[in-house]
Amino acid sequence: MFHEILSALVAVATLQNLLIMIAGIWGGVIVGAIPGMTGTMAVTLALPFTFYMEPVPSILLLVALYKGSTYGGSVSAILIKTPGTASAACTALDGYPLAQQGKAGKALNMALYSSVIGDFISNLSLIFFAAPLAVLALRIGPPEFFMLMLFALTTVAGVSGSSLLLGLVSAALGLLLATVGEDMYGSFRFAFTPDMQAGLSIAPVLIGLFALPELIKLVVMRVAKKEEAATLGAQHVTREEFMGSLKAILKGSVIGSVLGAIPGIGPSSAAFFSYGEAQRSSKKGANFGKGELEGIAASESANNGACGATMIPLLALGVPGDVITGVMLGAFMIQGLTPGPLLFQTNIHEVYMLLIGMLVSSVLLFFAGKVTMHMFSKVSHIPQTLLTPLVLLLCIFGIYSIASSTFDVAVLLVMGVVGFGMFLLNIPAAPFLIAFILGPMLEENLRRALAISRGDVSVLLSSPITWIFAVLILFVLTITVRREIQKTKTERRLAQ
């Protein structure tokens, strides 16, 4: 094992890989810092470029973008009170008041230190937990995999958007779209045109669904936010300030790592949970929301802490926990690697390279954050009316270059319209995407399980593991419904 780690370290430590990771982190920080641009967009826009790269550098690029954008989201949150990403919403609560006090640089530095520590701890958790989980997963068969994926889908549907029902509708739409094309026995389904016989590619569907609705919203509703960015002001975080926030950072990192590993939870919920916990347990809890560094530390350590951990279910079980890891699953598949327990047997060298690369990218995040801090206030000023059409341009060229297919460009545009329609109807897009990616595997495992059991549906509840997942699904459904009922009651009470 030591020899494998060493050889992976040597393989990662090439100039090419380091440059790719630096570009990814730096690009991610910039994209995350621009209001309206999200980490999901950064990762999806980079996807077409990874087609021409080796498997490990391509995944490292996407991971670096993910981490960079998660930290970058805090920049616009602190400078212009507009979180670049949803996971940075809590950071704005204390970051912007600090910026107004002339301490934007201090807030950005604290966000950077917390993000780096959270990210590093999260990567360690990935290294220690992914392999044992994969070994455990090797013992499960098609019925268990079907139930596991159903569980992941239910969780994502439950936590995305405001309604479980709409989350499930979104997942059903994604599952249906995934059936387009040739099935496992060679039948063509919903092949309305010859191009559709091969099915719909992942890249145009997901890029269209997540990047284009922003453009359509801008054209139709014309809401482009313009905010004045604060200057950096006081920059250094003193030793006392750092030590005072260290407990919140460590706690946030652990919260991020644990919640990030659960499919469907992701960085945003981790940040809110960690912020609430820090506020509850801190002596300065009353200052939260008024410009407290500890608040930034709690939020940022948790959201970056979730980044590495979301890779645990992806690598070990082949189940993406959120949209970005869903995109990464697509990137793995495009590269001929299938995440899941077998990855640890067939491609262990690549797995170690990936894990080491992720640790290295934590260090790079620190330097990228430091170097780019001064250009941040300028980046946040790019008008959306120019930026969003640029995104469309990148999408169109990127998608066309993947398969030289005008049909894929058409799919991209149609999915953008579908995404906009879902936005208008308040149907969340995340379950749709996860279902679209998991759909073929879900169906294949179900059909295999039914074939093995000679059509007996009870095979789906034939082992203790399937029962565990069935109970977990019921549990998730119950707590989600309960939460929704409580929320409705509270809102009704407030209205009265």
């Binding site: 059903a172 739409l173 249906l176 026995y185 059409p389 341009l393 149907i427």
Partner: protein
């Protein structure tokens, strides 16, 4: 019509159309299926039927539950008719773009689409930036993808004599 009712109706209609029209017509059953493997229409039919149930529940809750109103969609204050017109304009732009690719080539079609979109966002100042984005952007991207990745972009029937 209230939004939750409309939403429920759209969901039910879409999944019903899939289950009762599209699946029978566009998911053919092979003459021979090995062993006890379920037929290819089993999964899409199951998902579509589940979708109908979910849509019916959404519709039921829209009538019976007093749910809090959805957050209003942020706009620039334009009338709904104007926003529908903008949306229709955008759809026309997308369709014309796809139609223009074989005629004008990928490069020119993309330039026209970008220019159109920038103007549709309401951007009227920054003339230099608009020109750079609409004309310089596609040229740079085409050069990059063509030289770095070897992508061959389609040339137009009308613009082929000019080389693009």
């Amino acid at each position: 019509m209230p939004k939750p009712v409309l939403r429920g109706l759209i969901i039910v209609a879409f999944f019903a159309l899939t289950a009762f029209v599209l699946v029978p017509a566009y998911v053919p059953r092979p003459a021979f299926i090995p062993g006890f493997a379920p037929p290819p229409d089993m999964w899409p039919r199951t998902v579509a039927l589940a979708g109908i149930v979910l849509g019916a529940l959404a519709l039921l809750f829209a009538f019976t539950r007093e749910r809090p109103a959805d957050e209003p969609v942020e706009t620039d204050g334009s009338s709904p008719a104007r926003m529908v017109a903008r949306f229709a304009g955008l759809m026309v732009a997308f369709v014309l773009f796809l139609v223009a690719i074989p005629l004008l080539g990928f490069l020119v079609a993309t330039m026209l689409l970008t220019l159109c979109i920038v103007l549709m966002t309401g951007e009227r100042g920054n003339h230099v930036w608009i020109a750079l984005l609409a004309f310089g952007g596609p040229i740079l991207l085409q050069l990059f993808f063509h030289s770095a990745l070897g992508t061959q972009f389609p040339k137009g029937v009308l613009t082929k004599p000019f080389g693009f």
